[in-house]
């Protein structure tokens, strides 16, 4: 046996029961003579099914505890219990206690202990993300999440996300050879877009706070249940949701089946009111006076807020394939209904020369049925871990997408040491049936139109690098840099007014993220 150095093995000297460590921090052994545990006199009611024994030293067994292992086990246990005192001498322990006393006398120590009690037992993860899009949005997003075990079989988690966005996003209107004027969403004021530029809504600015909480419980070795709530609020949007799920293990837990569901309710309180789908944007220059403008503006708005109901179901199978590989398959079904438009998105109406005469607010169907299939594999290596996935999605708007994603992590110098992780993602979507980059004057307008490039044809790429390491006290730190590129595509236009203009502008974004986990 090559278990331990002989040095710290009190059990190796069973005949020297007085150990200064035990003496110093634990008076129990020194005060309590072994006899206390050997022949107590007292009470012994014994029931039929039990034998209660106080063996006495006068029994036939010869001087039992001297030859037995009890003394050695006791000394070993005392060394274990006082692990934090063995390094410090008695005065040091006293000093530490004196410090504790001093802390107790500080008036606001109650707050400190309240905080300590609040975060006691929580494993906390925090992350800060900087997001920067070449000419448009920039954002900072902070996340704090925590998990606390209530018992061996039950845990809760909570998460707070705060993000702040500023900048502008593409409105859907096409670029023009001359400057364009748009009315702000509120109706108060206008903004200009220079010739050749893709129109952006430059007032885009928002702060979002989201809170979520969850609960997980293991019912028996094969069954787990979970439930959660979610809420988020931004200036013009409120979202609420609940979810729940159950997991069953089969075949010695080599196969796990899960079923979960989610319900959501969102409210869109658009700035300036919701535009009437397919109505024209009122622009001041087209009206004789303010009153006429406001009349037109108001008639392009619907009363009340838009709401959206979402129901989702997901069926998952996780299968262990080999000693180091598992696969997961998810099938998801989601249905949303209600107000599904983006109230700030427009479609340009062009004349035969390609010049915008006016702009219509987009119109999306009022329901959407989505399906997704997702396959994920994870493989463990001695020096790393790989994760690879493919996702296929499909919906009744005609949008389908393929996503391939892979992550590979390589550890240097063992799993404590730093690691480097490479992330690649390729995404291709075929846009919705009602996507149109612009409309032509005089042609009939379909009931559903959108020029939002995000639901048009598009490829995107992500390349990411991450590094992380574990600190001495068990905390973990990680840094991540991601580069994201969007390449929308579509038919080129033969209209004169659009020649030389980019109908499907590319977009580049960079993300820098810092993670810290307290363990």
């Amino acid at each position: 046996m090559q278990l331990m150095p002989a040095s710290l093995s009190p059990a190796s000297q069973p005949n020297e029961p007085v150990n200064h460590v035990a003496d110093e921090v634990n008076p129990r052994l020194t005060q309590a003579k072994p006899d206390d545990y050997v022949s107590s006199s007292t009470a012994s009611t014994s029931s039929t099914s039990s034998t209660f024994s106080t063996s006495s030293t006068s029994s036939t067994s010869p001087a039992p505890h001297r030859h037995g292992i009890t003394a050695a086990i006791c000394l070993s246990s005392l060394a274990m219990i006082s692990f934090d005192a063995s390094a410090t001498e008695t005065p040091a322990v006293g000093a530490a206690d004196a410090v504790n006393d001093a802390l107790i006398q500080v008036p606001d120590s109650d707050d400190g202990s309240l905080l300590a009690r609040l975060i006691d037992g929580w494993a906390i993860d925090a992350a800060l993300l900087w997001y920067r899009e070449d000419a448009r949005v920039q954002a900072i997003e902070g996340v704090v999440s925590g998990t606390k075990a209530l018992s061996d079989s039950e845990s809760i988690n909570a998460k707070i996300v705060l993000d702040s966005l500023s900048g502008a996003s593409a409105s859907g209107a096409v670029a023009q050879q001359s400057a364009q004027t748009f009315t702000r969403p509120s109706g108060k004021g206008e903004y200009q877009v220079a010739a050749g530029d893709t129109p952006l809504d430059d007032t885009f600015q928002d702060t979002r706070l989201s809170l979520s909480g969850g609960w997980q419980k293991t019912l028996d070795t094969a069954t787990k249940v979970n439930a959660g709530v979610y809420g988020s609020k931004e200036f013009d949007y409120l979202s609420l949701g609940v979810n729940g799920g159950i997991e069953w293990g089969f075949f010695k837990d080599n196969t796990t089946l899960s079923l979960s569901g989610a319900l959501g309710y969102d409210l869109f309180d658009a700035v300036g009111g919701r535009p009437v789908p397919l109505s024209a944007m009122a622009i001041r220059k087209d009206f004789a006076d303010e009153e006429a403008f406001w009349q037109a503006f108001d008639s392009s708005r619907e009363r009340g807020v838009g709401d959206k109901r979402i129901g989702e179901l997901m069926l998952g199978v996780t299968q262990i394939l080999t000693k180091s590989t598992l696969v997961q398959f998810n099938y998801g079904l989601g249905y949303s209904s209600g107000y599904l438009n983006d109230p700030y998105k427009l479609v340009s109406v062009l004349d035969s020369g390609g010049n915008a005469s006016h702009y219509l607010y987009e119109s999306r169907p009022d329901s959407r049925l989505k399906q997704s299939a997702f396959v994920l594999g994870k493989t463990a290596f001695r020096q790393g871990v790989a994760e690879y996935s493919y996702r296929f999605t499909l919906d009744d708007w005609g949008l389908d997408s393929h996503t391939l994603e892979g992550r590979y992590r390589h550890y240097f110098a063992g799993k404590m040491g730093p690691y480097v992780q490479l992330h690649l993602r390729a995404y291709r979507q075929q846009g919705v049936d009602f996507f149109t980059p612009y409309l032509l004057q005089g042609e009939p307008v379909a009931p559903h139109i959108s020029a939002d490039y995000r639901i048009g044809d598009m490829d995107t790429w992500t390349l990411g690098l991450k590094t992380g390491w574990r600190l001495k006290d068990g905390d973990e730190i990680a840094l991540r840099l991601e580069y994201y590129r969007q390449l929308p595509s579509g038919e080129a236009s033969s209209l004169d007014g659009l020649q030389g203009l980019d109908l499907y502008p590319e977009l580049n974004a960079a993300m820098l993220q810092l993670n810290y986990s307290w363990n």
């Binding site: 993860d125 989610a262 996780t318």
Partner: protein, 71 residues
Amino acid sequence: MKFRTIIFFPAVLLLLGGCTTLQPWEKGEFAREDMQLGAEATDLALDDHVYFSKEGASGGRGFGGGGCGCN
């Protein structure tokens, strides 16, 4: 029809499952923190939020949901 392939996948997985049954003590690698399906949850959630607001499809790994007025 595309949906048929979707249903086909789990059937294949279950068949595979029947073939390989690891004993509990052979599952050491799956106890690794980096082998959990929820590993790097914070990163995944942040990514999801970005992709949700930039692309037409969402979800798959988890719920696609709503929760944001960005799409």
